[in-house]
């Protein structure tokens, strides 16, 4: 049904002044997230609630009038999970920014609008640490992290978002406010509903509060950077390392991304290398040096052309920052289609080689960076949007890379989510029965289908 101005006015009236925005000049910045979904349209309105109760008001109204609602965090999503659809209201959690750290229970109770970096900073004030660290941690919100079950660089040792979510407060499609889980480190009372909502991309409810587990502060890290003449040699090294120890970071960059980062940062990376690994150890005391030494030996055994190590945390952080800068650096070369495919670890070389083949066949540049220790890669497909033929080839490559990952027993998305851009490939991964199972759960929780319609399903 189409929402009339009168109906929209009832929502505006039910919310505090200024909560509901209908100014088209403002709405335009809520059309889409970083995935820049070409199908995005102007939403009817954007609600910017500051409390759970205001989110409930929106959802009750949306249920009554069957209005699609698009939950939105910081808008840094890369799969089109926050694309505005026709006739929708966007619910932006950007103004829900309360946080309370309880250092004795070692938890942070946070509202979804906090940035990941702000949660880390608040924990650090108490000598504690919230590990999950998407490369975008300075601009992505914790609500979005929960919605996508976000990963990051330290996940290879410390796990992903779901491993740190003890409890959630969620507003369901009909406006019901439920509290799932609690500040208990172990809790098996009832179904694992907290975990079901983590990663549900706003299709089952809107998270208005999360209780996050914190751990003692991370010790200073030692860092290794190694260059390789082949992708295979780097991938072999990854397998050798992960079998013997647990690095706190194990990242991969290919020749294209090394060059792009070096162009931007001029830090002396080896442009002639086909692959580079950045590995870190945060083992305490002298053990970090031992772990770095074991990893350096693994690099040398696989024929690394250069191995550099440092126990200076700042110097090491510069290399981690270089890796995190890879996406913006490659983006200078053109528009990006950002992939997020993962494979079982031993298939990593086959994936990277297959991507290179697709790049050649489709004649588009594909830079590859990877959370190598997790088998999770981010092929960055570079194209000129003014060149329609190239853009089409880029989109074909985008699909072919997912097909390739699936053929290797992999996943179409390791940490960004399915959103709208990848949902055409989801049935190929999950199969008909699991899609049907997913739909049954969606129907049970959102029978009118008003929560983020078109995402995932």
């Amino acid at each position: 049904m189409t929402v009339t101005d009168d109906v929209l006015a009832t929502l505006a009236a039910a919310l505090p002044q200024g909560c509901l925005v209908t100014d088209p000049d403002i709405l335009v910045s809520y059309r889409q997230d970083w995935a820049r979904d070409p199908d995005a349209v102007l939403p009817l309105a954007v609600a910017r609630p500051t409390t759970t109760e205001e989110v409930q008001v929106v959802m009750r109204w949306a249920t009554e009038h069957r209005v699609p609602v698009i939950p939105r965090g910081a808008g840094s999503g890369l799969s089109g999970g926050a694309t505005a659809v026709a006739g929708c209201v966007v619910v932006s959690t950007e103004r829900m920014r309360r946080i309370e750290v309880d250092p004795v229970t070692r938890i942070a109770v946070v509202e979804p609008g906090l940035l990941n970096a702000e949660v880390k900073a608040a924990a650090a004030e108490h000598g504690l640490w919230y590990p999950p660290d998407p490369s975008s941690f300075e601009m992505c919100s914790i609500g979005g992290n929960v919605a996508t079950n976000a990963g990051g660089l330290c996940c290879v040792k410390y796990g992903v978002t779901t491993d740190y979510v003890l409890a959630l407060r969620v507003v369901l499609a009909d406006g019901t406010d439920v509290r799932l889980g609690g500040p208990r480190l172990k809790d098996v009372a009832g179904l694992s509903l907290t975990k079901l909502f983590v990663g549900s991309e706003g299709t089952l409810g809107i998270v208005t509060e999360a209780t996050l587990r914190l751990i003692p502060a991370q010790p200073p890290s030692s860092t290794l950077v190694a260059s390789f003449a082949s992708v295979q040699a780097a991938a072999d090294t990854v397998l050798a390392i992960t079998r013997t120890l647990r690095p706190s970071m194990l990242e991969f960059m290919d020749r294209t991304s090394i060059g792009a980062v070096e162009d931007a940062l001029k830090m002396g990376l080896d442009r002639t290398a086909e692959a580079m690994l950045i590995a870190r150890s945060d083992a305490p005391g002298a053990i970090a040096a031992e772990e770095i030494s074991v990893m350096a030996d693994a690099c040398t055994a696989s024929g690394a052309s250069e191995v550099f190590t440092t126990d200076d945390p700042d110097e090491g952080e510069a290399f981690a920052a270089a890796r995190r800068f890879a996406i913006p650096a490659v983006e200078r070369l053109g528009s990006l289609l950002l992939e997020d495919v993962g494979v079982p670890l031993p298939k990593l070389p086959a994936l990277v080689e297959g991507i290179a083949a697709i790049s050649r066949e489709r004649d588009v540049m594909v830079a590859v960076i990877a959370h190598a220790g997790d088998g999770n890669t981010h092929p960055l497909i570079v194209f000129d949007p003014e060149d329609a033929a190239m853009a089409e080839r880029a989109h074909l490559a985008f699909g072919e890379i997912m097909d390739l990952a699936l053929s290797l027993g992999g996943t179409i998305t390791g940490e960004h989510g399915v959103g709208r851009l990848k949902k055409a490939w989801l049935p190929d991964q999950l199969g008909e029965d699991v899609m049907e199972l997913t739909q049954r759960i969606k129907n049970a929780l959102d029978p009118l289908g008003i929560l983020n319609p078109g995402a995932i399903l």
Copy 2:
């Protein structure tokens, strides 16, 4: 509906010879699990399938004839999750025992009938480790571990079962065979269905295969044992320790359990202590000694009466084994009602004190052991089943301990599951809305309500 012998015969005929057992002498041992639910009845039959397809045959038949099915692992459950109900067929997974370890991908693909200890042993052959370690690890099955999201002693550092389940193969109520997740370390494609099934206690499906994440072998552990003149002093120590480092074990025993274990094992434990902590560090190399030293200082600062440390792994293992032996040791004193309540860490002293008060008021012995670092306690209520008045007082205490945990912001079950014995308390913990949400998911996945009816809901 009541199942006639003819209908049961159709199931027997559809399964391989010997798969379906109806001999009452055999059935009697499938009536109940270790919770010894007094409401248990003789099942109609027990199916002991060896393949997923045989489980599908049972579920299709059960759907057609609306027969309740009770999934059963090793029968070591402590909440009555496998209690046989009237007119049911028990599906025991004990004969599904295939395992394949892939050391390069660092996974084990296991069938549910394997014991936890067998999975650990198979991983160890490749220098790898499956961490979750319920005290019953030598007799509990991995299928049961998945069904209850089992915990254990090393979980304080390494997490619980759900943290290690990458994929599941599940037979749904209607016999559909679905594969959820896969051998990818990061995977956010679609809803977190794998995590929904972990801990669902057989109410949503029957797990016929699990893909488990393995990590490099645990380094040898150093161990600390400390005695305290008060529970509060021990609890203070737990908070001091967990705020600064991550021990690989942090266990608590009260005076009663110390005495019971000492009676049985005669290893020189301090019977006069009100509380004992057993802590371990598996940090590599010299760091273990450092961590043990930090923990010893914390014990001393809290006024520990005795602190013993050892870097001999066997000597340390003897103390861990003593802790694991606490339940059998206390069981020598009478019948047990086994609790599993957890609280936010700072509430641990209040919980232990409150339990002592309930013990005094109800005049029943309650021994308390705890995975202290997780705030997860196991009060063991000891009673003489021949003494009806005492048995009644014990059951009252059982409920009061859960009420106490809830009043402290805790959970009625940290790692054993709700099963049937605790479900009366579940609404008090979850609230009406979350119970309704749970029921909606149950209805969506098991519309006829044939999977483990009466468990959880």
